[in-house]
Structure formats: structure tokens, C-alpha cells
């Protein structure tokens, strides 16, 4: 489904990704782990199409289509979804209006009829309950005044509404207490499907106790330095990143 070959990307002239290679097939869950500053979030942002990052070389295809030639909104319509690490607050745009505009943009792209306000309200209420978010949040401004956990659940709610082909979850577990973590994990597990791939970016392996990945990759200094099965995550938990010859602060310095 997603194929990344020798991807290099930089921001303000500084190279962050230094040759990423990754293959993700439909139905798989991949965990990308690594110390702070290793390029995990950059990889997520580049895949979603954030223009602040310049792709200097390499290739990314989604089901054979060149992803890098697509605008951000086109990537989303082709099925890329990024759950942001730090979702922005947009006062003045109601969450409901935002979500319906988004869902209808996707439906229009697929040649389906737009959902009217009543139909959408019904769907949105169902999905908000699935992520344990009070439907009252639908009436608030997008993420406005939401706690960290509420923002993460709002991101997950969008993933469930938009039903992407590839869901990229950037540190979706960070800042969550254990109950919220379970809610989010249940939501992610509900996303798992034969025709969908999930890429989870995480610093800690605790999320992986709830969502069992098929593959684990260690990203450091802008490269994937080790890949393995779920046991790799446990090994990292036990030994830390030092075992792989990297230090957290050294990784920062490498950037």
C-alpha cells in the first residue's frame, strides 16, 4: 500500500530525514519508535504533505500512485490520514461544521452524495460515543479549550469518520492517562481492517501493550536503523535506545 524509498526531507535547509525505506501493506500495523528528534514527526508530516518540509529526494507511492505530487487535500482524499501530535485549536469553526465539511469533501471525491446536517449529526454522535467524547464537544470550536486527551480523542474520531486507507497516528498516546489510553487503543483497534494500514509513531511502547503491531521500526538520526516484530518494542522497553548504539541526546545532535 505505502512504499517509501530513500526518502530525504529537510526544513529550512536542515536535513531531518536521511534516507527512509519502508514498505507497509494493507492490513498491517507498523510502529515507528525512536528517541526525540529522530525524525518521527517529520516523517508523519511529510507523508501528509506539510509544505514546511522540503522533500529533497526519494520516492513515496500509495497504491502505486506518486504521493509526493499530490497536494495535501488530495492525499487526504486518496486515503492518507494524519492524527496530529498537537492538533490546532480553531475558534469560530465549529467541530461539527469542520467534520461535516471534511466528510463531505471525501464523499464528493468518491462520487457519493453529500450528507445533510441531520444525517451527519447522527453519525457524528455515534462516533463521538465510540471514542468516549461527549457529543457536546461537536458544538464547540475545533479543539477549542479541549484538554490534551480530548484533542487526541477528537483526532481518533476523525479517523473513524473518514475511514482512511492509511492512518498515521503521531504520538496519539502521549499525554493520556491509562483510562484514556485504553479508549484510544480501542478506537485504533476498531480502525484495524484488511484494507487499511496503520502507522503508529510513538516514543514509548506502552501503547503497544494495547495495540499489537505487526512490525516495529526504530528511527534514529533520520534513518530506520532496525526493524523487527513486536518483540523489538519489548526489547527497547527493557534495554532503552542505548542498546542500539544511540543516545537520546546524541540523536538530537545528529540532527
Amino acid at each position: 500500500m505505502l512504499s517509501i524509498k530513500d526518502l530525504h526531507a529537510s526544513i529550512e535547509g536542515k536535513e531531518i530525514l536521511k534516507g527512509i525505506n519502508l514498505e507497509i501493506r494493507a492490513g498491517e500495523v507498523h510502529a515507528i519508535m525512536g528517541p526525540n528528534g529522530s525524525g518521527k514527526s517529520t516523517l508523519s508530516q511529510v507523508l501528509a504533505g506539510n509544505e514546511a518540509f522540503a522533500v529533497t529526494s526519494g520516492e513515496v507511492t500509495l497504491n502505486g500512485e506518486n504521493l509526493l505530487e499530490l497536494e495535501t487535500e488530495e492525499r487526504a482524499r486518496e486515503g492518507i490520514f494524519l492524527a496530529f501530535q498537537y492538533p490546532v485549536e480553531i475558534p469560530g469553526v465549529s467541530n461539527l461544521q469542520f467534520l461535516r465539511t471534511s466528510v463531505n469533501a471525501m464523499r464528493t471525491h468518491r462520487g457519493e452524495k453529500e450528507m445533510n446536517a441531520a444525517e451527519f449529526m447522527k453519525l457524528a454522535k455515534e462516533v463521538s460515543r465510540q471514542v468516549d467524547l461527549d457529543p457536546a464537544f461537536l458544538k464547540r470550536g475545533v479543539n477549542e479549550g479541549f484538554s490534551g486527551g480530548e484533542k487526541k480523542r477528537n483526532e481518533l474520531m476523525q479517523a473513524l469518520l473518514l475511514q482512511p486507507k492509511l492512518a498515521i497516528l503521531d504520538e496519539t498516546d502521549s499525554g493520556l492517562d491509562i483510562d484514556a489510553l485504553k479508549v484510544v487503543a480501542d478506537g485504533v483497534n476498531a480502525l484495524r481492517a484488511e484494507d487499511r494500514a496503520i502507522m503508529m509513531v510513538t516514543h514509548y511502547q506502552r501503547l503497544l501493550n494495547h495495540i499489537v503491531p505487526d512490525y516495529v521500526h526504530v528511527l534514529a538520526g533520520g534513518r530506520i536503523i532496525k526493524s523487527g516484530g513486536r518483540e523489538l518494542a519489548l526489547e527497547l522497553e527493557e534495554k532503552g535506545y542505548g542498546w542500539l548504539g544511540i543516545k537520546e541526546d546524541a540523536a538530537e545532535a545528529a540532527n
Partner: protein
């Protein structure tokens, strides 16, 4: 030394009019006072950013006749009065006789009532600062007097549709005076619209006098065309415990100037002033507001938003003056501005003058662009760039639009805003 330009004498000849004698006398007196009035230049402090848009030709000095037809864009749900080129058109107006409420065109007033009115006209405005809008008092040919008796409540808003329509250059001078006696309640919607393409000036003054505990809402919607230079002033005086709310929505033009002056003269009086301005192309819009806290224990809350696209230019000047005896004043002024292009200009100036020592005053002004992170967030959900721009721009003013208490005005404003978005943000 170069002579400062003065208002051409041609502008000081009022058209023959059927006004009652006391109002004709007032007009004459005001006209005399304006002989040799210097025209604002960029050295005139309160016209600094706007004087270059003022282009008065002698052809524009002529009073436009009460003819033509434009048709309001508002589906008027309440009572309606139509002014055409500054003159009331009874056959186009529609309102019933209401208990305790007098609505009368100036031309129909008795000499006694007219004399009483003449003594009050301009009483809400500082004629030194409204300058050009002061010309209205020398030139008005008609006007509307709305007088509410104590406890009178108008059950629906009154709409005044100020149309200007001309096949030649000229000027119109609509005038409105509202007296709200104690405990009366009233909502006035004034819509300024135009037809035609010849350069014209609309010079307008509306005044509100609120007695104790009166509650008045003023809604002002300006959608005049590219041929209209609009110079308007609104004056308000408030007595004890009265409430005044103003909602101004303005779309730009070659020259748009509105001075809003509020005096809080009785303890416990409150005013709320909201304003939304949208400009595009080479349009201009200038709002100057003044709130005078004269009495103690008064509250004022002011929120203005400007959005400027293309090479347009918006100006906001908000002055709050807390007089020495106005202890326990509570004044809040907020002005936010959104630039949609690098060629657009917004000038904002909050001014606080405080002479009392126990007051709460806050003011803030910001100028910014659409937030890139918010745009990225929206497009990453499949929303088009154009729609993301529209959502974020609307978000900037939506709160103020939603606060307008008359649905028909919200609908018209929204329709005009959508036209603005259509021409400002390209389809991908």
C-alpha cells in the same frame, strides 16, 4: 504658503425644501458655520489615512432628486421606511400607527415640534470631530423623527432603507433622529444601498437619545456601490441605566467613513459596539468610534473586526475617554484585523484617555494573517484550500455576525460575505 483646501461653496447651497421653518433656520445656521471649512488632508489627525480617498467634485454638490428605484436586498420582516436620495418616500414605506410611538418625516412636523427638534439636532455629536458629516445639518432636505413615549416597546424592528440612485453626480443627506423615553425599547435597522454608476456622496447623520432605562439596538449595514463616497456619523447619548447596542457591518467602497460617538451620561448606562468591515480590490473603509464615560458606574464593550483583501485599506480608530467623575467605569475595547494579501493595508489605533482613578479599562489590537497551521490542519482532512480559507476567514467574524439580533440582516450579511469569499479566494 500654500492655502489649505476648503469645502467648495457649491456644497453649502441646500436645495429648496418643504421643511418647517425652524429646521430651515437650523440648516442655514449650520451652513454659515461651515463657510471656509478646511477639507481634511493627511495632516488632519482623524483623516490621516483616509483623506486621499476623498474626491469631492462640484458636480457632486447638487442635491439628488428623490427618484429612481433600487430595491432593498433585505427581505424586510418588520416595519419599513424608504428614503430615496435622502428624502422619505411614503408610498414605498410601510408601518402601522403604533401606540406611544411617533414616526414622522421632518416635512410633516408642526412648527412647534420642529422647533423642539431643531434644538436637539446635533446634540449627540461633537461637531468639531465629525467635520464633513456636519455638512448633513446644512443640507438635509428631509429626515425621520422617531419618538418613543415612556414604556413604549416597538414589537418589531423598524427598517430604514437608505437608497441612493442617480443618473448624474450629486449628493444625498439622509437624517434620522431617535428619542427613546424612559423604559422604551426599540430596534432600528439602517441599510445603505445604491444603484447607478455616477460618482455620488452619501452624507448621513443618525442620532439616538436614550432616557433612563431605555433600550435601543442600532444595526447598520452598508452595501453601497463603487460610485458612492459615504460619510456618515452616528451619535448617541445615554441616561441612567440605559442600554445601547450597535452592530455595524460594512463592505468597502471608494470612500467609507463612519464616526460613532457614544456618551454615557447617566450612572449604570451600558453600550455594546460591534463592527465588521470587509474590503477588497482598491476599496476603503474607516471606522472612528468614541466612547465618553461621563458618569460613574458605566460599562462599554467594543469589538471591531476588519478583513482586508487585495490592495484594499481598512482603518479603525477607537477612542475611550473616561471623565474625571466616571469612577468605577468598565471599558473594554478589542480590535482584530485580518490581512488576506500582502498588498492590503490596515491601520488601527486604540486611544485611551483616563482622568478617573478607579476604573477598569482594557484594550487590544492585533493585525495578522490566516494561520498556516490551521490551514494545514483543515486541508489535511480533505477540505479544499479555498474552503479552508473561507472557513478560517468566516471564523474571524462569525461571532459578531451571529450576535446581530435580526435574522434578515444576518442573512444579507452572510450572502454578501459569500460573494466576497467567491471573488477573494480562487477555486483550486
Amino acid at each position: 504658503m500654500k492655502q489649505a483646501p476648503t469645502l467648495s461653496a457649491a456644497f453649502l447651497h441646500p436645495a429648496g425644501s418643504s421643511l418647517p421653518e425652524p429646521l430651515l433656520a437650523l440648516r442655514k445656521e449650520r451652513g454659515t458655520a461651515l463657510v471656509d471649512m478646511p477639507l481634511p488632508t493627511r495632516k488632519t489627525e482623524n483623516w490621516k489615512y483616509s483623506s486621499k480617498y476623498l474626491k469631492l467634485s462640484d458636480e457632486m454638490a447638487i442635491s439628488l432628486p428623490a427618484q429612481g428605484k433600487t430595491g432593498s436586498s433585505l427581505a424586510v420582516p418588520g416595519y419599513k421606511v424608504v428614503f430615496r436620495n435622502g428624502i422619505m418616500i411614503p408610498e414605498a414605506s410601510d408601518y402601522p400607527d403604533l401606540d406611544g410611538i411617533m414616526i414622522s418625516r421632518f416635512g410633516d412636523l408642526s412648527d412647534a415640534t420642529a422647533a423642539d427638534l431643531a434644538a436637539k439636532l446635533d446634540g449627540t455629536l461633537n461637531r468639531n470631530t465629525v467635520q464633513l458629516a456636519g455638512l448633513n445639518s446644512a443640507r438635509f432636505e428631509d429626515g425621520l423623527l422617531i419618538s418613543l413615549s415612556p414604556n413604549a416597546v416597538m414589537d418589531q424592528p423598524l427598517f430604514i432603507i437608505h437608497e441612493v440612485d442617480a443618473d448624474a453626480s450629486g449628493s444625498a443627506f439622509p437624517r434620522v433622529f431617535v428619542e427613546a423615553a424612559r423604559h422604551s425599547q426599540f430596534t432600528l435597522v439602517e441599510e445603505y444601498i445604491s444603484a447607478g454608476s455616477e460618482p455620488v456622496m452619501v452624507n448621513t447623520v443618525t442620532e439616538f437619545v436614550l432616557a433612563d432605562s431605555a433600550q435601543v439596538t442600532s444595526i447598520r449595514l452598508n452595501t453601497e456601490g463603487e460610485n458612492v463616497q459615504h460619510i456618515g456619523a452616528t451619535g448617541v447619548r445615554q441616561q441612567r441605566n440605559s442600554r445601547f447596542a450597535s452592530h455595524c457591518v460594512g463592505f468597502g467602497g471608494p470612500l467609507r467613513r463612519h464616526d460613532l460617538q457614544v456618551r454615557l451620561e447617566g450612572e449604570g448606562a451600558e453600550c455594546k459596539l460591534n463592527g465588521v468591515v470587509v474590503t477588497q480590490g482598491k476599496q476603503h473603509y474607516d471606522n472612528h468610534t468614541t466612547i465618553e464615560h461621563v458618569a460613574a458606574h458605566c460599562n462599554s464593550e467594543e469589538t471591531y473586526r476588519n478583513i482586508a483583501a487585495d490592495q484594499s485599506h481598512a482603518v479603525f480608530n477607537g477612542r475611550i475617554h473616561i471623565h474625571q467623575d466616571a469612577q468605577k467605569s468598565n471599558a473594554n475595547m478589542n480590535n482584530k484585523n485580518l490581512l488576506l494579501s500582502t498588498g492590503a493595508e490596515i491601520d488601527t489605533k486604540p486611544e485611551l484617555e483616563i482622568y478617573a482613578d478607579d476604573v477598569k479599562c482594557a484594550h487590544g489590537a492585533t493585525i495578522g494573517q490566516l494561520d498556516e497551521a490551521s490551514l494545514f490542519y483543515l486541508v489535511s482532512r480533505g477540505i479544499s484550500r479555498r474552503q479552508a480559507n473561507v472557513l478560517l476567514t468566516m471564523a474571524f467574524i462569525n461571532e459578531l455576525v451571529q450576535q446581530i439580533p435580526v435574522e434578515a440582516v444576518r442573512d444579507t450579511a452572510t450572502k454578501r460575505l459569500n460573494q466576497f469569499f467567491d471573488s477573494t479566494f480562487e477555486e483550486a
